[in-house]
């Protein structure tokens, strides 16, 4: 077991708790950078997919895991990010500007949408964002002039000062672009967590009244959370557009919104790790299923809805037996080993809570 002797306040503030942790993450980053040299193009594509989902997941995690606002409409913001990027490129804006700008546009729109949504809590917010996600499909068709409607748009080759990135022929370059974005988004998330704004998010999540009594501006904090969350999701959406090679009104449906939400729950709400763990499950589930079908000798039989059915079952099991998701399990396992043989079963026990109504009569 490692014991942290804290000698300065920076000990709590800095990114890594100690040298070992730093070395572990450094090794992970080196591994990620070396990945294109270690695996083939197919699996590199899958790794890219994991990272893109993780970026989108980080966006939603900030809103749902950190601030407690459930959104079933984040596919709409993925779409907004993808389309803003492509339309800007279409207008001749270089990628190096259009890509971050797509994130900012999505963030601004998200903040504006948050204003009427501020008064909504829990399920009402979930339903409202769900409606937004459904409407996004229709709006894309209606604004065909810019979005190409049902025909869709085809992302051109990325050009950064003459350095070209073509998603199909140069998967390694595309992978590095995605990896860079993922690292930047993770850093943003981490920085927020260790500063007053991140704590304000958690305060709003856990108790709005006492957050207000402590001087946290509830409305402004929620809007900021929506803004940053949507911006990150928008970046994810822009990358998803490149990854799928084509975007139209059916690329980002309500099902994607739901999948994104389920993904962060499986990964573990409220943790950066959770977004990445969840993305692994989403990206590799189809692979895993086709392998499993091979075992049963039914690999040629297409079973519609199988992927979502299994995904749903995994989620049900997690909510029942490990509400903290894969990350929670990981932490518990790690602590069990660190404390071996002194770990106790009730170490993670929480006080029992009862449902209290929000209704007053």
């Amino acid at each position: 077991m490692r014991i942290h002797f804290k000698t300065t306040y920076n000990h709590d503030i800095r990114l890594f708790a100690d040298r070992t942790t730093f070395l572990k993450y450094a090794a992970l980053l080196v591994f990620a950078v070396a990945l294109p040299f270690l695996i083939g193009d197919f699996y590199l594509g899958e790794a890219t997919n994991v990272l893109i989902w993780a970026i989108a997941g980080l966006g939603l995690m900030l809103l749902t895991g950190q601030t407690g606002q459930v959104s079933l409409g984040h596919a709409a913001f993925l779409a907004l990010g993808a389309y803003s990027n492509l339309i800007l490129l279409d207008k001749g804006v270089p990628f190096i500007i259009s890509f971050p700008l797509a994130g900012i546009i999505t963030g601004v729109v998200g903040t504006i949408i948050a204003i009427p949504a501020l008064r909504l809590h829990g399920i009402y917010l979930a339903i409202a964002t769900m409606a937004i996600s459904i409407l996004a499909d229709d709006i894309i068709v209606l604004t065909e002039r810019w979005t190409g409607g049902v025909v869709g748009m085809f992302p051109p080759t990325i050009d950064i000062f003459g350095f070209e990135i073509e998603r199909w022929t140069q998967p390694d370059r595309f992978y590095y672009l995605v990896l860079f974005t993922a690292v930047v988004c993770t850093l943003i998330y981490r920085n927020l967590l260790r500063s007053p704004l991140g704590r304000a998010f958690a305060a709003v999540r856990d108790s709005e009244v006492s957050a207000a009594a402590m001087g946290v501006h509830i409305a402004r904090t929620k809007m900021t959370a929506f803004g940053i969350s949507c911006a990150i999701t928008g970046l994810g959406g822009a990358l998803m557009g490149y990854y799928s090679g084509m975007v139209n009104n059916e690329t980002f449906t309500i099902v994607i919104s739901i999948q994104l939400l389920m993904m962060i729950v499986i990964g573990g709400l409220g943790s950066i790790h959770g977004a990445f763990f969840g993305a692994f499950v989403v990206a590799f589930l189809p692979q895993g299923l086709s392998i499993a079908k091979g075992w049963f000798g039914t690999s040629s039989v297409a079973i519609p809805g199988l992927e979502f059915g299994v995904f749903g079952m995994i989620l049900v099991l997690f909510i029942l037996f490990e509400p903290d998701g894969i990350y929670g399990r990981w932490v518990k396992t790690r602590i069990w080993f660190e404390l071996f043989p002194f770990a106790r079963k009730d170490m993670f026990k929480r006080q029992k809570s009862y449902l209290k109504t929000e209704r007053l009569r």
């Binding site: 007053p196 856990d206 009244v209 006492s210 957050a211 402590m214």
Partner: protein, 255 residues
């Protein structure tokens, strides 16, 4: 002038008058208690000061500000911190994080600076942590610093909530039933703490409390409420001897 001055305040829920033309003032440096039977409107007075409710009429002045001109989240900026009757902590955060939220009113950095985690953010962060450590030291919360609230026993949570309020560095501390649910020893600790809060930190305390033992040992003045209106005001001994108070507590004819 008094630190907190409440004048002729009236609050109605539908047809029910919860607070009825109530006036009182709290002087700087004193410990002032509001007592009264259940439903007398004690917590409601706190919620009025916190601006969770809008009164029908009356005024609330604090330190030269008319609180009724400001939204709830501005109240902390004037130097008012509070605890809640049913503990409203941030359950999925650690004790340290809870206390740091208490420092929120001292935040001087903006979103962009925090995203980039500039040196200024770091300096402020260290300053917040120094302030919080003093409170942790004062209330003996060291063993719980990095524990999640969700796993803490009731008594500790009460102390954490007091600590969070203190961390904000208030001029006025509102304590809503600080001793309810505490053991005899814990109540004893609370008594010393309230004494120290007043004497060492120079913080004025306004509290709602049922435990008359605690009230008479730490409070300078007491206000007795019944049905939202003032019944009596004075030193603890005076109020306890007041026939109207005895009647409200024990029923008609008991005196």
């Amino acid at each position: 002038m008094s630190l907190l001055e409440i004048k002729n305040i009236t609050l109605k829920f539908g047809g029910v008058t919860a607070v009825d033309n109530l006036s009182f003032s709290v002087e700087e440096g004193e410990v002032y208690a509001i007592v009264g039977p259940n439903g007398a409107g004690k917590s409601t007075v706190f919620n009025l000061i916190s601006r969770f409710y809008d009164p029908v009429s009356g005024s609330i002045e604090f330190d030269g500000h008319n609180l009724l001109d400001h939204p709830p989240e501005r109240i902390a900026d004037f130097g008012i911190a509070r605890t809640f009757q049913n503990i409203e902590l941030f359950d999925n955060a650690s004790v340290l994080q809870n206390l740091l939220v208490g420092r929120h009113r001292h935040r001087n950095t903006n979103m962009i600076q925090e995203i980039l985690f500039t040196p200024k953010v770091r300096r402020e962060e260290i300053a917040h942590r120094e302030a919080v450590e003093e409170v942790i030291d004062f209330l003996d919360l060291q063993p719980y610093r990095d524990k999640l609230i969700a796993g803490l026993p009731y008594g500790i949570r009460k102390v954490v909530e007091l600590a969070r309020a203190l961390a904000s560095g208030p001029k006025l501390l509102l304590l809503d039933e600080p001793a309810s649910g505490l053991s005899v020893e814990e109540t004893q600790d609370l008594r010393w703490w309230i004494d120290d809060i007043r004497k060492q930190m120079g913080i004025t305390v306004l509290m709602v409390e049922h435990d008359m033992g605690l009230v008479s040992s730490v409070c300078d003045r007491v206000l007795a409420l019944a049905d939202g209106a003032k019944l009596a005001e004075g030193t603890p001994a005076e109020v306890q001897a007041n026939p109207a108070v005895i009647e409200a507590y024990l029923g008609v004819g008991a005196a």
